[in-house]
């Protein structure tokens, strides 16, 4: 077990290194083909050569390899790695340290994730279990139809429709009926508000969770169906255990193994969804930060965020693997 964990952590670190290298090669190529991102610092002004040089040195773009297309620029890559190893993630173009920016953005994204995960678990587990329990009946067919419909709705369509069609009449109605600072009025607010971080995040989180829950729902259904026909369930029933007991301990618990692993993979999906959700609903989270720095061509922030997000994803995948082993006694890690 211990040696397995150590091997997985080392492999994970290696993957992080490869991800960093890939990102570095791509951004380097873009700089070489596209021109100097240090110019972005000056906006519309035309800097003198010495000003430009000062900025280039300040943001680590001074290396001459950035002017030679095809050069992999391994020197600056090594430099960045050693800075990351010391906990220095650099600054954005305005000089604010990346760690500060992340500290501001992270709580909102985490709140969004909490709401999304709860939505998944409740809707996915509930509807999936119901569909498996009543397999082949009308309720099963309607749940499957709903999951196909949800699948067909891209998350941004859901958000755009909600924001441009529903928020205005709903907010007007809630303000008129309950007062402008009441809970329903804040709930339907079309954009995020700093003072009420949880309330204004509930609906965007629900929508994002709803669009992601279709594959989850199908997985729960398939996993439970497999268990309904399993021999241990038949044994449990023939022992005379009650239906509720069999469902709770022999079916739902057993089918939770693939469900846990799915949470890990869907986590990476939710990161993508968060970019759109945070963009459309003006939530100041990681996705929004990333989107804004992409538009400002702030390379160091983009690389820093994607690095941190991929480290988190690798960590989640590792945890999922360990949880798999803990939940399923048949799996031995040696």
């Amino acid at each position: 077990m211990v040696s397995y964990v150590i091997r997985r952590v080392l492999l994970g670190l290696f993957t992080v290194l490869l991800v960093l290298l890939l990102l570095h090669l791509l951004t380097t190529l873009a700089i070489q083909l596209n021109g100097n991102p240090a110019l972005a610092f000056f906006g519309d002004h035309v800097p003198t050569a010495s000003q430009l040089h000062a900025v280039e040195v300040r943001y680590g773009l001074g290396d001459s390899c950035y002017q030679q297309p095809g050069n992999p620029c391994l020197g600056p890559f090594w430099h960045r790695l050693s800075e990351y190893a010391h906990g220095d993630f650099g600054t954005d173009l305005e000089g604010r340290p990346l760690t500060d920016l992340l500290a501001q953005a992270l709580p909102n994204t985490l709140r969004l994730f909490v709401i999304v995960t709860i939505t998944w678990l409740i809707i996915g587990m509930l509807l999936g279990s119901v569909a498996a329990r009543f397999r082949g009946r009308p309720i099963d067919h309607s749940i499957r139809l709903t999951s196909v419909l949800i699948d067909a709705f891209p998350v941004f369509v859901m958000l755009v429709v909600y924001r441009f069609i529903f928020t205005v009449p709903l907010t007007t109605w809630a303000r008129r009926t309950f007062g402008s600072d009441s809970i329903p009025a804040l709930l339907f607010k079309p954009s995020y508000s700093e003072e009420h971080p949880w309330l204004t995040l509930i609906i965007p989180g629900l929508l994002l969770g709803l669009t992601g829950c279709a594959p989850f729902l199908r997985l729960v259904r398939a996993a439970q169906l497999e268990n309904y026909n399993a021999e241990h369930v038949r044994t449990a029933r023939s022992k005379g255990l009650s239906n509720a007991h069999v469902t709770a301990y022999h079916i739902v618990r057993n089918s939770s193994v693939p469900v846990v692993t799915a949470v890990g993979f869907v986590f990476a999906d939710a990161l993508s969804g968060a970019v759109i959700t945070e963009g459309v609903m003006n939530i100041r989270g990681m996705g929004n930060l990333l989107w804004q720095s992409v538009q400002k061509s702030d390379v160091s922030v983009v690389v820093g965020i994607v690095t941190i997000l991929s480290v988190v994803t690798i960590g989640v995948m590792l945890l999922v693997d360990l949880a798999y082993a803990a939940l399923d006694p048949r799996i031995r890690l040696d």
Partner: protein
Amino acid sequence: MTSAAVDLEVVTDQPGGTWATVGRHMLRRPDVILATLVSLFFIVVAAFPGLFSRTDPQHCDISVAKIKPQGFGHPHPFGTDPSGCDVLAQLAHGARPSLLLAFTVVGASLIIGIALGLLSGFYLGWVDAVVSRLLEVFLVIPLLLAALLLLSLFRNIDAGDGDFATIVQPAIVLTGFGWMGYTRYVRAAVLESKNLDYVRAARALGASDLRLMFSHILPNAIASVTALVPTAIAGVISAEAVLAFLGIGVRPPAISWGIMISSGAPWFTGGYPYLLLFPLGCLLATVLSFVVIGDNLRDALDPKLK
């Protein structure tokens, strides 16, 4: 030669049987037939937009801006947008980038995914180690983050005009981050079937590695991969709309449904709901029909559900 011919017959005979069963299963379902008709309709629209609207979508006359839908027979049957462009013409011509992108991306990722999956499952060893690392690196970076990063990094590079040039950048990015699923499925299927008796027999008869891979092992993997294709097409169509919505996919003056949705959305409450509803309806109808086909294909091909 004769022994090889016999082998081939045995191998191809079985999928033919499976495919016939799958076809019968699919044709019994009314929703599949409807979904197939809808997707065929949009494929025809994408291939021949001129059949549906004679108006040039790029020809926008501000003096006829914001005409509400008039019904067929009028010069602007679906009305015009705030800058006077004909909505029907835009809808018809907007289908092409989405569908062209979807088929290009899915085709290219299938080729990459199947090739890598076959190689890593067949040879194992260091080939498998390299492919698995590569797979993990691409899995760890979420598709949309990668698309955001790459498409904005390379946005100043002009690929030129023409249907294919407008989609080449999103196509490369979506393919680059879309092949992993196929590789995993193919690799798993190869591992399962490479030690089966008939494969050993073919190897003992002196069949080359390429022959073993393509005519003996690959047909076993095709079923599970096929079930992914319609869903993947739907996924790419909606990914294209997301990218266009974020302003980094297909960009104006080219037209796509995603662009129409993002520019039409703010007009919904101002009394022009059709500017959002028409492109949204087309997008949803296309995506939904591919999802329905994919869902039923998966059921038809899954031996566990029979």
